[in-house]
């Protein structure tokens, strides 16, 4: 926690520096490519550099938002198994014996309406809609897991695009 306070403190200090001390450049009124704006207007380099620097700072601040850790195939498996276990139509005897090779209709004795219910629960859990054409691919737990992995582009060592730490040393979310 102390680390985050120091980090946030440091960031504020740089913003304060930027606002109160405008950098003095030698090329204020020269016609460099960075000076010329899109419509051919020349703008003092001072303001251009300050604006881009402020925008960069805002972008970096926005990038500090914390994201959930990247999905792994084991995450998906555990979530799917948890949903199947929570389903109340399954008898108590079968509940903890649901494995990757369980077939919904043959092993658990569910019918097509129950299958639809399970798929709707999966849609709610993972947040995207599964189209009708894919329903008959999803009769075993293994098929469900593979389908979800394919749809969500989950790889084993995937890195998030937005890091929740400015320092890459803290990227695996253990701070």
């Amino acid at each position: 926690m102390l680390k985050t306070i120091l980090r946030h403190g440091c960031r504020l200090r740089s913003v304060v520096n930027m606002r109160f001390s405008a950098p003095l450049c030698n090329n204020i009124h020269t016609l460099t490519p960075s000076n010329v704006q899109a419509n051919g207007q020349i703008w003092p380099h001072v303001f251009v550099s300050r604006r881009t620097r402020m925008i960069d700072q805002f972008v970096k601040d926005a990038g500090q938002m914390r994201t959930s850790p990247p999905l792994t195939p084991r995450d998906i498996e555990s979530r799917v198994l948890r949903i199947c276990n929570e389903y109340d139509k399954i008898q108590e005897a079968n509940k903890n014996k649901i494995t990757l090779v369980t077939h919904f209709m043959n092993d658990l004795g569910l019918d097509s309406l129950d299958h639809v219910e399970i798929i709707v629960a999966l849609e709610n859990e993972f947040g995207f809609e599964i189209p009708d054409a894919d329903y008959d691919k999803l009769y075993t737990v293994q098929n469900v897991v593979d389908y979800l992995i394919k749809k969500m582009n989950v790889t084993d060592r995937s890195k998030t695009t937005v890091s929740s730490a400015p320092d890459p040393r803290y990227d695996d979310h253990h701070h």
Partner: protein, 126 residues
């Protein structure tokens, strides 16, 4: 392409209502079930006086579908699907009232039962 040119020979005697074979009818039924299931949290809020839980609503919908599971005639299945979809639209657009939706749930008491036995009649005042 007209419907008659697409149908197999055996079905030419009867004009279908919506679906041409059992596969299509099954797809319609499953779609209807799916949209009812997706509507459950909204039904809970819109008809809040009924004090429904999600499991109770799911059981009620399943029960309503299972009541017609023995039907084999394609046109009857289509008509039932259409009627189910009409019910769905009425429920989703809140054209029904609170007690109206309770009639679809067989286990809900929409009327007060007559007292049976001495104590119940005593409590009623008889």
């Amino acid at each position: 392409m007209s419907l008659t040119t697409r149908l197999p020979q055996t079905l030419k005697q009867v004009r279908p209502v919506l679906s041409a074979d059992h596969g299509e009818a099954k797809r319609r039924v499953l779609n209807l079930y799916k949209i009812w299931l997706r509507q459950i949290p909204y039904i809970r809020v819109d008809y809040i006086k009924n004090n429904w839980t999600e499991t109770r609503l799911r059981d009620a919908i399943k029960e309503n579908f299972m009541r017609n599971k023995h039907v084999t005639d394609l046109r009857v299945i289509d008509l039932l699907v259409v009627r189910g979809q009409m019910d769905f639209v009425e429920t989703a657009e809140i054209w029904r009232q609170q007690h109206n939706t309770a009639t679809m749930d067989r286990k809900k008491d929409t009327y007060k039962k007559k007292p049976v036995g001495f104590l119940e009649r005593f409590y009623e005042g008889h």
